[in-house]
Amino acid sequence: MVELPVLVIGGGPAGMEAARGIADIGYRCVLVEKRMVLGGTPELANYAALTPDFRDAGEAMAEMAKAVQDDEQVDVRIGTTVRDVSGAAGGFEVSLKSGTGNETVKAGAVVIATGFQHFDPGRETQQYGYYEYDDVLTLVDLEKMLREKKVVRPSNGEPPKRMCFIQCVGSRDRQIGNEYCSKVCCGVAAKESIEVRQLLPDCKVFIFYIDMRMYGYWENEIYWPSQEKYKVNYIKGIATDIRKKGDKLIVRGEDTTMGRPMEVPMDLVVLSVGMEASSGTKEMAEIFGVELNKYKFIETTGGALNTVATSVEGVFACGAATGPADIEDSISSASAAAMKAVSIVRKKALAG
């Protein structure tokens, strides 16, 4: 059997890294992205700086996109979606749809890198009034403001004097149905809090949390600087609700650290929304028949020793398609998926 290219689905950090990896070791790859640009959620949601290294997100994504666009081994298809699949490992036939029509491509293996979407804080409960109050934002909204270097209250255009982050919105919540930790929001909130304090030194910044999950060096790189250098106030206790009083938002909750109820006025509230499987991830799972886990991300079946295998031979998943992941995780799992995809393409061709 001839060695067929690997089909990589999703042009975000994980998909671009998988494609680059496949090409780097001398194999061909078709990279499919439904939007008209590469860069994935960091590009779509206007990320300002990457966590934890504060690297300019736009620049980093452009660099990754250029690497695959400039590589002859990578056939980049933007504005293209996957419609259907037949065949098996070593010889999949995948039908693609784009503005120019339908086409079937042959692929020896598939890497699903369709990522996540941000939790919609207005979807399940309205307790934080995301759609009700102008000055209630999400991490994503703030990221956009940080990119423009202009953090203001949408209600009046003034810079906030007091603002807070509320952690675990849409994560670790049995009421909502997302019982998992989204892993990155603690780090992202800490990173954004530093950026806000750099932009607005007179603005008091609070972070209300259940526990800060800043594993590894993130603790040293972002958590401690935010607390010790930038004097961000970490308060253990999740806000119960937000109410409007005059032109302020009143955040109510328990300050468990001090053992007292609290009711504090804020100019701006940022909801640290978590991750959910993207609609693309769910669609690809359906098309390729790969199992989802109970959190509705793609189930990886190899346990601790293989983080990219799925329930279908020859179909791999990486990045946030398999669960909440930061960029570091996504890049690492993308490389693993690239290697395993190439490996199966070779094995099937040799056996064939």
Binding site: Q227, E228, K231, M258, R260
Partner: protein, 234 residues
């Protein structure tokens, strides 16, 4: 007694005044070695003897300052820092904070600014402070009086009544004293008085206990004059 952290009891105190005291603590040169950040791990409270007996938490004090919560800081400055025994068991902190050291700074600010709470907390120590500062020794034999130490038993009365005889029974001649623990050299006393004058201890006493200050002033100025120093404590 339960510590009221609501701050309502000090709602009448100007925020600017609270902030001024807070800034005074922060600008102390020791501050940055005493407080970094806080894990909220509670190891300081676990190690703290006072926390077993009082509604006292070195963690909360450190956190109120780390958070720059000026209102809460003011509550602790008045109602909590005097519950600390300054044993520094809290120095076990994994973040290398010293809540005890921070409390030292807060106490100094409370005293230097003559806070009523500091005056009240130190009221009972006037006699001890007088002894140390006037004689150079802390616990003098003549402080041993039956009515002051009823729990020490009936023999205290006998010792107190015959104090001079008991003291003369001690072999070292320098301990044949009743007003001081031992006889302190004149030169040492002079140096102590000068140190207390020059380092601002007398100013601190003046803020917290005017009566005690005046008594000490009489004693010290006279002795320093005899020793050839022209010093005024005013």
């Amino acid at each position: 007694m339960t510590l009221d952290l609501s701050g309502k009891q000090y709602a009448g105190v100007d925020y600017d005044e609270k902030e001024r005291l807070f800034e005074e603590v922060k600008k102390d040169f020791r501050f940055e070695q005493y407080l970094y950040g806080c894990y909220e791990c509670g190891i300081c409270v676990a190690a703290c003897p006072s926390a077993r007996f009082y509604d006292f938490s070195p963690r909360k004090i450190a956190q109120s300052v780390a958070r720059e919560d000026v209102d809460l800081f003011y509550v602790f400055l008045n109602d909590s820092v005097w519950d600390c025994s300054q044993c520094f068991s809290c120095d076990v902190c994994p973040r290398k904070n010293s809540p005890g050291g921070l409390i030292t700074l807060m106490r100094e600010v409370a005293v230097n600014n003559g806070l009523a709470s500091a005056q009240e907390a130190l009221e009972g120590y006037g006699r001890v402070v007088y002894k140390i500062m006037a004689t150079g020794t802390q616990v003098a034999p003549d402080m041993l009086q039956a009515n002051a130490f009823p729990d020490w038993g009936p023999h205290v009365k006998d010792i107190a009544e015959n104090l001079e005889a008991w003291r003369r029974a001690l072999p070292p001649e320098t301990m044949h004293t009743t007003e001081a623990s031992w006889q302190v050299d004149e030169k040492t006393i002079t140096e102590l008085y000068l140190i207390w004058h020059m380092t601002g201890v007398m100013d601190m006493i003046k803020e917290v206990d005017e009566g005690l200050f005046m008594i000490l002033q009489d004693v010290m100025e006279e002795k320093l004059e005899d020793a050839g120093y022209d010093v005024s404590f005013d």
